[in-house]
Symmetry: D3
């Protein structure tokens, strides 16, 4: 079993805000991340799949194909977007934290990868150089 | 003459949009950067000053002091902000491109640095790993 | 289960030296790392915790809280220190190798994290760009 | 159990090409990677071993010794080489993909590491900043 | 005057070899870089232009346009190529060193940039993380 | 004129301390950097030389030769050292700040480079990821 990882990037705006809470409570919990005029990040996404290298091509998956799949299912829908407002697969009211995003990205990618000769293993998402989240599907 | 550089970071939302233009013209010129719901970046800022090392301290400037000055004059005012809406020293209607930001940051920092035994030399601002702007004051 | 990681940094001096050994044996084993006048490193620390994102906040843990905890329990006690002489939780005579440090850092952090709704998963410590150690608690 | 990782680097040429296939099929499958005049990469290799820190030295393994072993068994044989033509331990006709290389590197390193008080845990190989493969021995 | 820089990347094979010299002299001068079966690198290219930000767009140049120009004039012609054999604008017999490449890249880019409201300022090319060359046009 | 740069690295201990000053004044000026038991850094050094590429080799200078020169004149004398105590070319009592180090490194390297067909252009030294100093010889 070999693991192969592809990096992609996107830039997006977001804020952290719970509608049921007062402004005070939101600011207390989320600090500057609750700025009502939004802030944003350069996100770096690593998608890892696992499988056996094909005896002819030496590929677990054609990485160009994997890249296009991540572009189509994730990057094209979140790049230069507002994560709270613009992305159909992020439920309204769900906080666009890195923790929630890795789960949501898994749900978009995993079904299509079932048709390949490999399995999705990990979604890793960096929000800044100091913070990243990871999800392994369970 | 020795040059000393301090790195700082901030995260912000912005969009590129000329009010006098139609939506079509804005999208044609700015593409995804004109998304009306904003997008954002992790910005990395390098501030370079030049001077002669003090014979006792070996400092051109106390870098901790320089860092606090950059924090107070720049980072505290742009971090987790919307660069189009929230920052007093960015004129309304001016595009918050990296090119314009390096000039505006220079104007905030340069007068205070005149009181130090060193001179501001360069403002460098990275918007993504692929794009940065630099300004030398003229 | 989602994993969330926070990066912190510190700078410290150390040397590798076994008191019971002769200078020759120390130099043979540790080479330049046994320089009796010390040397030092910029250490980069990644702390990973795991848990379920809170349904309101989307947080496994408030990363700012995690950062403060790492600062208080680790960084404030090792930054700009001599790891052989200055740090109460490093036993006298124990080599301050990256391997031993990741175990010692785990022991400082793990008990306090038990009071959070998440678990400590991994301590990763980079000594240079070429060397890092990891510990998972067992 | 502590995991310790050493980074090494090498530069090499290669191409992806299946001799039994037509030029058209090779270009369709491998695109630019099938350029018959070769292309190349700066490879970055991370080797992870696991074990218990020695009570005197604090080492799972002497990292300088590990580095020399990786140099002798891997880097000296692949650096500034053509991976399709010059490397005895890469079978003729096997595609030098990152997926195949991590398996082949494991086979070179693992037997010698058995004589140490630690075990090989992982081979990780970066081909570009966007692609890496990992192998854990099974 | 503001300076704006765009990063691009390409992967290529090359060797250093002077035809008029014996194999011994080539190996003595170029060492492993003279391997007759080639080796290769991941090259990172930074192109810097200078000019005045447009009062409406805030652009010295539209960076997407600059990126496409670099792709068309440089990257499409050198990526996944053999720099000694495949690139029309590299004269036969000229060593494809980073020093020579920055001059050759300048000659390809500079004439087209004259039609823009900005000037080419610098070509910077990284061959490995340890080596880069720069050219300013004279 | 082409500029070529070589990166080297070293690890060292130091402290900032003016003997003529009281402990209070030293701590007030230098903060944690005045810890009497030292602290340390991973330093990254970039040496830039300028000249014309040789028509046969394409080299401004053989970078391997430049690397060995930097190793012999700088790295071998500062790596795994105490910069306050162990380095003959750092005058006793001079603060080993990055600002002073770049001047001292210039003085060691510049005379030997005069015998090459190129000139020393810049010494750049990174102390952490947030601080670097540069010196151009005047």
């Amino acid at each position: 079993m070999v693991y192969i990882t592809r990096r992609e990037r996107f830039n997006a705006a977001h804020k952290l805000w719970v509608d049921e809470w007062s402004e005070e409570k939101n600011l207390e919990m989320f600090g500057k991340c609750a700025n009502k005029n939004w802030h944003g990040h350069n996100y770096t996404l690593y998608v890892t799949v696992k499988g056996h290298p094909d005896p002819h091509t030496g590929f677990v998956i054609d990485v160009k194909k994997l890249s296009k799949m991540i572009q189509r299912l994730i990057v094209d829908r979140v790049d230069h977007s507002n994560l709270n407002l613009d992305v159909p697969f992020i439920p309204a009211g769900m906080q666009p934290t890195t923790e929630n995003l890795v789960i949501l990205f898994w749900k978009e990618l995993e079904p299509e990868l079932r048709e390949e000769a490999c399995e999705l293993h990990k979604i890793q998402l960096w929000e800044t150089e100091n913070i990243y989240a990871e999800y392994f599907g369970e």
